[in-house]
Each structure stands twice: as C-alpha cells, then as structure tokens.
C-alpha cells in the first residue's frame, strides 16, 4: 500500500501532519522538565553506592543546615507502603527502609531552592552502610547459600512458571529432527531521549503531578494508594513525553519523591532524573538465558517446542512477572504447533530492575526461535522461507495457549518480503562475506486484561462540538508519547463525526479533565482508544443526522455527513453545513457531546498465566536483512532491510511506517551493540549515552517498509497494532543473515564485532 492510499475514507488512511508537530519543531512543546510552577523547589535523590547494603544510620543534620535547603527526607518521613505494578508483588518503597538492593537505590532526598544547592546538600548527608554480599549472577541467584535480595522471595525466585500443553515428549519422539540450542539475551534498556521528570504540587489536600508518563491512570492509582489519598485527590497531568518505550509505565522516584517533598515543604517540587538515574531506574529488557528444543517432521512441520528461561529481574519486581510470562506466551503465536512446554524462572539480583520494553518479554525468545528455525531448515535442506510457510499461522485460528487470532496475513508477509528483497536471486548467491536472512514476529494489540484487577473499561472518550459547530474537541486519556496517538485518534474522531481533521482539537491524558484510559503500553491505543473514539463520534453523527432530518424534512436513514456537509442521499440540493446543524442543536438542546468506551471481550484460557498474551487482535511481520561481514575485524554492516507488516487498516501511513522504522532501529541497537554492563560490585560501567551505544544516523541500513492488505474485525475500521511488533523480527533476521554470509552461528546478543570475530576464529580452528 502506498502512502497516499485512501480506500473509502474521508480522513483516515491519510498521512495528515501530526497534530503536535508544529509545537515540537518550534520548541513550544513543554515537556515536564520544561515546566515552571511559581514557588517551585528542586528535588534531588541520594542514591546508594552499594549493590546490597544495610543502612545503619543516616545523618541529615548538616544538609538541613545548608542555606537554601527546604527539606531533607529519609524513609522515616514518608509512607512505608510497598508499591510496584505487578499485583501481589509490591516490594519497593519510596525511600529504602532498611536495605538498599542495587547501586542507585533511593536512600534520601532533598528539596532546595536550586539544583546546585540540592546537589550540595546531598553531599552533606551522612549514611553509614554495612555492605552485604551481593547477587550479581542470575544463573546462580537461586542456588543455596546465595544472599537473599528480598526476604519474601525464597532463593531469589521472583516467579516460577510451568506450562504444559499437549505432550511435548511424544512430539519429540515422533519428530524427524529434534534440536536443542542455548541462547543468551542482553540487558538492553529503553533510552528515551527525555529523562523521567515530574513536578508535584500539594495544595488543599490535593496532589497535582505533571509528569512524563505513559499512563496517568496507573500513576494516579498507585500514587494515591501509596500516600493513602482518594484517587480523586490525585491529579496526574501528562506533559509532552519525550519517548517511553515501556520505561515510563509506572511511577518512578521522580513522582513518589517529588510528591513526598511537596507534602513536606508545602511548595511545588520538581525532580528531573539525570541520565545515570534513568539507568538506575531502568525497567528495561530482561537478559534471558534460553534453552530451546524444537522437533519437526521431515517436511519441516513443527511438532513440539520446549522453551526454558532463566531471566534476570534485577532488584524489584516492577512489571517483571508479566515479562516472564510473555517470554513463553508469544512463542506459539506466529507458527502453528500443538505441543509446547514452557518453564520460566525470573530471579532477583542486586542490579537495576527489569520490566517492560518495546515488545515486552518476546523479542529475545523470538531471536532464539528464528535462529533455531534456520538451523533446522539447514539440517532438512529446506529454504528458510519455506519452513516458515509450512508452519505459518492462518487466520481465524486459536493457538495452543488459547490466543484467538482473527486476521492474519503472515503468509502474505512472507511472500511479499521474499519478492521485494529478491530472496530467490540472493539466497546462497551473494558474494563471500555477504548474506541474507529472515526473521519474523507477531504481537498483541493491547493486553486482554489490565495490570491490576478492575472492571473499568480499557478506554473511553468524549467528543464535544463547539457551540458554533466549527470545531470539535476530543477528550481522551490515551497517551501520546511520540508514536502519534493524538493524531490518529483525532483523525478517527473526524472520520466518525463527518468533519475534517483540521477541525479537531485534542485534550489528552489528564486524570481530571479526560476520561479514563489505561495508557500507552502493549500497543493498545489504536484499537482500544480508537473504539471509544469511534463510538463517541458515531453518537454525535447520530444526533446531527436526527436534527438535520428534521430540518430538511427527510428520513434520518437517508441523511449522511461527509467532511462537514450534511446531505440527503440522492437529493443533492438538500444540504446543510455541519456548523449550522450543530449550532442549531446547541440552541435547542444544549451541549452536543458524544461518548464512548471499550472493553475487550473475555479472552483466554483457564490455566495459570492464561491472561498474558490475550488480545483482541495480533499483528504479524516478516523481515529480511542483507549484511556484509568483514572477516578480518568481525564488523557487520547491515546494508538493507525489507520489512513487511500485517497491521490491519492503516490510519496514518506516514506515522505507521515511522513506527516500523523506529522499532527496527531499536531492534538493531539491541541486536548489534546495546548492553548495560556492570563491574564485579554491581556498579554500571556504561550508564551514559557515550558508552551505552544506541544507533546513530550513521548506522545506515536502507529500510524498505511495506504492508499487506488486511482487515481486523475486532478493531475499529479494521485496525491493529504496529508499534511494538516491529521490534521482534530484527535480531533473528540479522543473526540469520550473518550465518548466511560467513557460516558462523551466533547465540549471544548483542552480535558485536568481537563475538563475530571470535566465532570466525573458532570455526577456523575446526577446519
């Protein structure tokens, strides 16, 4: 589909400019750290230098005496309520109570007139620690005799998962080839360009927080719980958000500590993390140790899969329980097989906490699976595309773990990727040192269940038409973190009402002025918030049509609206302008408002953990990469990538391809160089953007992003997700392309030149 495709729609399907682009290119857009509230103080957090230590004493008196300091707080001054975001695993506190569990853990905090004073005051706080032995190796964390990170999690086990579908042993016995391989993932992290930031204001018993948040709702829920306030007395307002990628889904110390300091001082307090603190807070990708066994028939049909994971959760639970379940739950999605065993262990270490990052727990297992599938294809003498086509999921099927798939054009993605990359002309035919490889993926379009138990709908929307009928304002709790939800939801509102995109204003994500929505995670908003918007727009359209029918003396069934013209079908002379009808509506009946809400149907099976992976719809993708490897240095150059996506109806083609491109680059960073590394005391060695390398404009594969025609019945106008699914195929496709180029197989992420070079040397030794 080209970028100008319109299908039958008036507003959706078009690459309209982003609703907030002008504010962003002129510098007018205010992010939380840009805001200034009168009387505001600056907050800073004292962080632990040790990975694991008991706090014996904290002396704040010298810091208190420093002129300009308004407050110094420790755990004694704040609620000791445990918080988190995985229900039943709340294990973090605003400030460390007895022990610190990682380098960078939160020990005390200061509010002062300016940043310099606050930083000076931190240096005057005296903390006496008893340093404890730390657990740094996830593979040994569960051994007897290892230090305990949390007293309540025996042997440091955060969650243990055993799921068993069918009879995998029997499947292996009946298989022609059974392979077991071990893979190791890396500790990557989100790196939003905007560090976490919040301003808290405490006035008349009400807490207002401006924040860089992916979910004002979850922030409001957790912050009110921790401080013992009514939800209605906590207002969370999303400022412009400079990227999230999963790292801003739960409140961080920026919110909790600034709120505590605001309550203590009675003045607004701003906390902006420095880059190091973003690494300490983390919540990035879990490094997964994966043992994968797969059995296939002679024809390449997958019979059974056994996946075992040990994943490094770091210090706190955060959203890590879900991450651990996602690791296995997404494996049966894109290929169809009947027998599956999934054993997972998430363990605690004294390292920064891991949680959800774009693609959640799924990208590393997908890397393992796509790599192994290629190895199996080689053993069978099959083409890698062929083995994928033999197993590709088909529409209207249910996976073995009870995920119901409606639309699925995975096979079409494979065909198109094969064609546009000239796979047949290249596979096995490229000059030495060059190779081509495929990787695939698929992802949920919103989680079937919210993160905590509640009967609230997942999304809701209100559209209000102005009194003159010239503009419409969409009030919605969906969160634009850069992906463009404000824009596509405004397009949807215009389409549903029958007006133009330019007529729509949007007020998004303020828990007081906009209706409830769970926010930006799990690729949920286009479908879920989109449903709410469509319903709200339809309600307005209905009201306009009813009144217009009256005014035009026509049958309501014959009246329609398109781009502000209200007309009687078949009688071209009988028209009214939208503003006339809307204005008349206001005069006769008062505000013209439409509202909508959405909750997914009940989804999923009955087994433990069945909720994870459920979704109203799934995206699918195939990605082919071409690489050039320098055998002398191990340097890998990705020269071209072809990505073909099945993401349902497209609302804004430019923004959609922008998601694919961005996700692909993020996947590339994870595949090639990203990894947080620590010294033997658990101190991060590269907690900065110079040494934690993310892709720059000079890392230049050419990207061809294409789509296949697809319509998702569960989505409004047939939509489904794209933002996260596109991170999944990349790592596997690179690893497979490198194998094709030089005949060495890499099992450990990231695929650095050193690893490539060593693998080449090992191969030479064997020859």
């Amino acid at each position: 589909m080209s970028e100008t495709s319109t299908k039958d729609f008036s507003v959706i399907g078009k690459s309209v400019p982003k609703i907030d682009a002008r504010d962003k290119v002129t510098g007018r857009a205010k992010y939380a750290g840009d805001l200034k509230v009168p009387g505001m103080l600056i907050g800073k957090i004292l962080r632990s230098p040790h990975a694991h230590a008991r706090i014996l004493n904290i002396n704040t008196s010298k810091a208190m005496e420093l002129p300009g300091v308004a407050a110094v707080i420790t755990a004694r001054d704040v609620p000791s309520t445990f918080y988190g975001i995985s229900p039943a695993r709340y294990d973090e506190t605003i400030l460390a109570i007895e022990k610190v569990l990682q380098v960078g853990d939160k020990v005390a905090a200061v509010a002062a007139v300016d940043e310099e004073t606050a930083v000076k005051a931190l240096a005057l706080i005296d903390v006496e620690y008893e340093v404890l032995p730390a657990v740094l190796d996830p593979l040994r964390a569960m051994d007897e005799g290892q230090p305990q990170v949390h007293p309540q999690y025996e042997r440091n086990i955060s969650v243990e998962i055993h799921q068993d579908f069918g009879d995998v042993e029997k499947a292996f016995r009946e298989s022609y080839v059974v392979r077991t391989d071990c893979f190791q993932g890396n500790r990557a992290t989100h790196v939003p360009m905007e560090p976490h930031a919040a301003i808290s204001k405490w006035e008349n018993g009400k807490l207002t927080i401006w924040s860089s948040s992916q979910s004002p709702h979850y922030f409001q829920y957790h912050i009110s719980r921790v401080f013992g306030l009514k939800m209605g007395d906590v207002r969370v307002i999303k400022a412009f958000v400079g990227g999230g990628f999963g790292g801003k889904l739960e409140p961080s110390a920026a919110e909790y500590v600034s709120a505590a300091l605001a309550m203590k001082t009675g003045r607004p307090v701003k906390i902006v993390f420095d880059r190091k603190e973003v690494f300490f807070h983390n919540r990035g990708r879990h490094a997964q140790h994966i043992e994968l066994t797969t059995g296939v028939t002679k024809e390449g049909k997958i019979l059974g899969v056994h996946a075992k994971f040990i994943i490094d959760g770091g210090s706190y639970t955060s959203l890590g329980i879900a991450s651990a379940y996602y690791a296995g739950a997404m494996l049966p999605l894109i290929y169809d097989f009947d027998h599956f065993k999934f054993d997972g262990l998430r363990v605690h270490t004294n390292l920064p906490s891991c949680a959800a990052q774009r693609g959640h727990g799924a990208p590393q297992p997908r890397f393992a699976f796509e790599s192994q599938l290629d190895m199996i294809a080689k053993e069978l003498g099959m083409d890698p595309i062929e083995i994928r086509k033999v197993n590709a999921r088909q529409p209207n099927t249910t996976t073995l773990n009870d995920l119901k798939v409606n639309s699925c054009e995975f096979t079409a993605c494979l065909d198109k990727a094969t064609e546009i990359s000239d796979w047949a002309g290249k596979k096995g035919k490229l000059p030495p040192g060059q190779g081509i490889g495929i990787g695939c993926g698929g992802f949920i379009t919103g989680a079937g269940y919210p993160i905590y138990r509640t009967r609230l709908p997942h999304a809701s929307a209100v559209i209000k038409i102005s009194e003159q009928g010239d503009t419409a304002t969409l009030y919605i709790g969906a969160v634009d973190i850069g992906q463009g939800s404000d824009t596509i939801l405004a397009q949807m509102a215009a389409e549903a009402v029958g007006i133009n995109y330019e007529d729509v204003r949007i007020v998004s994500a303020d828990t007081e002025t906009t209706p409830h929505d769970f926010g930006a995670y799990a690729s949920r908003q286009t479908l879920m918030s989109g449903h709410a918007v469509k319903q709200a727009g339809d309600e307005i359209r209905r009201q306009i049509i009813e009144l217009a029918a009256d005014l035009l003396e026509a049958n309501a069934a014959d009246v329609d609206i398109d781009r502000r013209v209200v007309f009687v079908k078949g009688s071209p002379e009988k028209t009214l302008t939208f503003e006339n009808v809307a204005n008349e509506f206001f005069i006769r009946k008062g505000p013209l408002v439409g509202k909508g809400s959405y909750a997914p149907p009940k989804l999923g099976g009955k087994f433990k953990g069945a909720a994870v992976g459920t979704s109203p719809a799934y995206s699918f993708a195939a990605q082919i990469s071409q690489v050039e490897v320098d055998e002398e240095t191990g340097q890998v150059m990705v020269t071209k990538v072809w990505d073909v996506h099945d993401c349902g109806t497209v609302i804004n083609p430019s923004l959609l391809h922008g998601q694919v491109e961005g996700a692909l680059f993020m996947g590339m960073g994870e595949a090639m160089y990203e990894q947080v590394v620590f010294d033997d005391k658990g101190k991060p060695l590269n907690a900065n953007l110079g040494e934690y390398r993310v892709p720059t404009a000079l890392d230049v594969p050419e990207v061809i992003s294409e789509l296949v025609d697809s319509y998702e019945p569960a989505g409004p106008w047939g939509v489904k997700e794209v933002g996260e699914g596109a991170t999944l195929p990349t790592m596997g496709s690179y690893a497979n392309a490198i194998y094709d180029a030089i005949g060495v197989r890499l099992y450990d992420l990231p695929l650095t030149p050193e690893k490539v070079w060593r693998a080449i040397q090992d191969r030479k030794k064997l020859l």
Binding site: K24, Y31, E116, H190, V191, M193, M666, L698
Partner: protein
C-alpha cells in the same frame, strides 16, 4: 572572546539570543544550556545527558553548532546564539521546520530542536548536501524514535527547496 565582567562570585554575561540582547548574572559553572533554559526560558533547548553525548541541547553559536551543555555561560559572553525558538520568523516557519512536519520526521520531538539546528548549520555551509553529509551532520544528535529515516528525508527535502 569578550571577557565577562566579574561581580563577586557572579559574572555579567551579555549575548544576543535569537536576535535580542540578553544579559544575566551567572556563576562560573553555569552552562549555556542552563542559562538558556532557566534564565531566559528558551526551553526548546533540551537536556538529554549533560555530557555532550546526545545533541538534544544543540544550539548555534555564531552560526556553528555547539552542545550547549558543554559551553559555559561565560564563554557565550559577547556571542550570538540561535535556539530553536529563533528559527520561526514572523509566524513563518523555517523550511527545515516545515519539512520536518511534512515528512513526519517528528515523533516524541525531544530530539527535534537539536536535530533541526544541526541541519540548519549544515544547509548554511553546504546548501546541497549529499545524504551521507546529512547523516554526518546529525551524527551527534541521537533520536530514539524515528530510526532517522524521515529526518534525513526532511533535511534533504529542505535542501532541495534551496535550489
């Protein structure tokens, strides 16, 4: 460089920002970034790392790009600085700004001000850059959202409009 006048612990700095004369009393260790953001409220200049790694704080000093987090306010004394707020003239956007909008080169927008200013400096010294030259010019500006694809397109489109 014009030496800033010292007043006790503070220095008087005078500089032209976006065509307007500005003066402020600053500490020796105040960065140009903080001066712009905190004193003059040019918050379009972003803070991403404070180490010169990300380019979010890029501004033009006498037409050349600098990471304003690495420039001391006193070093900017007597110089001319352009921030993102200075590109729009009488309500009219710079061609680069327009192309960033047209080509959907903006996602979260946090990198956009620095990115646009790096591109501006490039197009002033080299009105018809190659794609490689564009990529080199923004090589120090990190973007985590876009994969740079549309940013490069936007800059090339703005250059095209130069001819």
């Amino acid at each position: 460089m014009v030496t800033a006048i010292k007043k006790g612990n503070l220095h008087v700095v005078r500089l032209v920002v976006n065509g307007e004369e500005h003066a402020a009393l600053v500490k020796s260790n105040t960065t140009l970034l903080d001066l712009l953001r905190e004193e003059f409220d040019y918050t379009g200049t972003k803070k991403g790392c404070e180490l010169g790694d990300c380019g979010a704080c890029t501004v033009l000093m006498d037409g050349k790009t600098v990471n304003s987090c690495l420039v001391l306010a006193v070093e900017a004394n007597g110089h001319t600085v352009t921030t993102i707020e200075g590109l729009e003239r009488n309500g009219e956007l710079d061609r680069l700004q327009e192309e960033f909008i047209n080509q959907a080169a903006v996602q979260c927008g946090y990198c956009s001000p620095g990115m646009i200013l790096s591109a501006k400096a490039l197009l002033v010294r080299n009105p018809h850059p190659s794609e490689r030259e564009v990529r080199e010019a923004i090589g120090g500006n990190l973007c985590r959202c876009t994969g740079y694809v549309r940013i490069v397109k936007a800059i090339l489109a703005a250059a095209e409009a130069n001819s």
